[in-house]
Amino acid sequence: MSTTTSTDTGASTAAAVEPRPQPSGTRRPAEERRRRRRMPIGAYICALILMVVFLFPLLYLLNTALKSQAEFVANPVGLVSDPQWGNFATAWEKGDFGAYILNSVLYTAAGSAIGTLLTLVLAFPVARGYIRGAKYWSVVFVLVLFLPNALITQFQLLLRLGLYDTQLGYILLVGVGVGVGPLLLSGFVKSIPRELDEAAAMDGVGYWRYLFTFILPLARPALVTVFILQAVWIWNEIILATVLLADPTKFPVTVGLYAFKGTYGNQWPLLAAATFIVAAPLIVGYIFIQRYLVNGVVGAVKG
């Protein structure tokens, strides 16, 4: 029931963000209305609050990372007075974050690449009916979304295949986590005209060449979304990695940083510096790809 009411409350919160509702009934002159629209001060105030909510935690993290342990104990909240840039070097030295970040990049890139490729070779023939029993296979795509939490058997499977505590085993397991991908792509493929298949086949283009040189670029918005959704999931995974990997040199950065917290949990400036080391390359990388990323998701969800 709460889901039904949620949209109502949603509306009322959103209304606070909307331009001030004009008193109903009275018609304001068009000129005044246009002036109101040019100066949406309320909207800018809302945007400012939003930015504070999202940026303050990171700025506070940086502030803490620059304090000495003594200053943190004496004055945990105040602005840093004597920046300790050495904290970063110490955290880097003790945490081996370079290796963790590389592991995470490897798992995320390889896993999402496998997942996106799987999505392409599975969803296209099913969406087109090029494979026998396409109707049943599309049911399988829905089932993928609702599989039970298989932590136990994923561990047992890798153990029995001799892939436990290997990077390959972990990549394969996160790679098949395609989630909503095949469904998303089959929806998208339907917007590509079937005549194109026929025309290409008439010109002697084989199936594989067609799939990878025609469909791949045409379906790029959808494939980018599939890739990003899976990449975000793999990048954030921590428990699967804890269960399937035992050797600390293979840990992704999520597990590595969590382990660091276990060791230096009472030294907040050092821990904050370590957290910042992990966050900084992400923020910098994000600044470069955000336009592509955010617009890619918007475009692809639109279909």
């Binding site: 799987l118 199936y207 955010v294």
Partner: protein
Amino acid sequence: MTESFPFPRRTPVRLTFGLGMLLLGIFGFVPAIGVLIASFTDLRGLPGLPINFVGVQNYIDFFSPAKWADSANALRNTIIFAVVSTAVQIVVALAIAVLLNRKLRGRDFYRAVVFMPTILGVTVTGLVWSLIFNVSGGPAASLLDLFGGRSAFFGDPNLALSLVILVQVWMVLGVSVIIFLSGLQAVPEELYEAAEIDGASGWQRFRSVTVPLLAPSITANVLLGIVNALQSYQLIYVLSGPNNRSTQVLSLLVYVQGFGGASGTTLSQSQGYAAAVSMVQFVLVAIVSILALAILRRREAKL
């Protein structure tokens, strides 16, 4: 359908499709079906031990008086976490999406900042908020102190779950905002103009133009959100650990039961029991998704 296959040979389609399905089958479906089978056994974590079928004993245990306190606690936490975080997420995301759909200066920057926590990942997010809610002199504690208050935050059994929900919403909000934004872009500008000419207030325009046209996005967001939230545990693991009773959800119970952790129960390391907990969670996800879908569909039809 299959007779309209335009390409010269069917072998390539069958080959890539077959290989893809094989990979998905082995690493996706085998563990998923294996969970069901394992839930009827006394499977243990170590290899080489004999495995016996125990029928529905694990399920009986889950609901037995000895375990019910733990089971009911995890069930309740899972449902509260999923329903409340999804509801808040939808409401706030819709408000933010409406705000960021306006032609504000710096709009792309605001959008990028809202999406940023998705990139930072659970460990960074978890540590940043642990720092904010640091009991000894964090900003939240200092703020409370101004009003003469005091709190243990994640250590307070009555507060921990709410705080975890707060951080969860902060972290996943961006994805919902993006989905709503893509839905909003599909709303034709003329509809708003027509509504304005008819004298509709901002609130009325939102209620009778935006919400009905966004209904598919809302459905997608609620379903995605609730299915994700019912199964998510990474953030809780980082924020309050796997054994914190007041925030323990079913997924964490699976982890603790199947892979140890310092749980006080006698069945530690019993992977058969953990598999049964996974199946209970699976049934819960199925029931909640079907309910949510039915309710939303009926609402969509009404709108």
